[in-house]
Symmetry: C2
Subunit: 105 residues, 2 copies
DNA sequence: CGGCCATGCAACCATTGGGTTGCACACCCG
DNA sequence: CGGGTGTGCAACCCAATGGTTGCATGGCCG
């Protein structure tokens, strides 16, 4: 049910490079070029990654002079975590109920 | 840091079809063939998905007679959720600290 | 104990997607 | 005000992957 816009977020989180970007941003906002300096990929590749991260709301652009810094949004991560936990709990609950019925209790 | 074996789980969760499979399993264990009955994909496709879901520990095979039912493991989902939340909280904390410094407080 | 039914494996196809190079543009700083 | 620096856009490449069909296999159930 609560599957809504959740899947794209996981798709975004299912890439190692994206995590390095997020980790780097976790130490302070940075531009695509700056990130390209400390990661083993091109600036353009990073730009693409930042685009998908922004699209799912995990990151936010901030114009500073002529560059565009990106800020990681931990709150979105926390939100996703909560929704994920809810789904898992629901399945556990339902399966427990089924198991009880199956065991004839 | 805690990036360990987390990414593949998200990659697995980043697919709509896989979620339908998980949702279906959430209503009770089922075999690949049974799932193929209620989903608009081939049995073989489902088998592949079940393989990747099993590999990241989101699902568990259970032999029943000559068929192989699959059980969804909500606990793994809950665990993933907790780890995700921890990472998000960490980033938020660090960024808050940076912000304070930047503001010269 | 024989046939049916579910599984497993393999080859193949099309699309997505991460990555690159190259170029155009825009903007700020000196 | 001019050139370097940072962005954006486009074309292209290759590997991964979601999906299919087809066939082989193997184990229950009647």
């Amino acid at each position: 049910m609560t599957t809504g816009t959740l899947v794209p977020v996981f798709a975004a989180l299912g890439d190692e490079t994206r995590w390095s970007i997020l980790a780097a941003l976790g130490e302070g906002d940075a531009s695509a070029s700056a990130l390209a300096g400390r990661l083993p990929v091109t600036r353009q590749a990073i730009a693409k990654h930042l685009a998908v991260l922004q699209e799912v709301g995990l990151v936010e652009p901030v114009r500073v002079g002529r560059e565009v810094r990106y800020r990681v949004l931990g709150s979105q991560l926390a939100d996703t975590a909560r929704r994920l936990e809810a789904v898992g709990a629901e399945w556990d609950r339902r399966l427990a109920a089924i198991k009880e019925i199956a065991e004839g209790l």
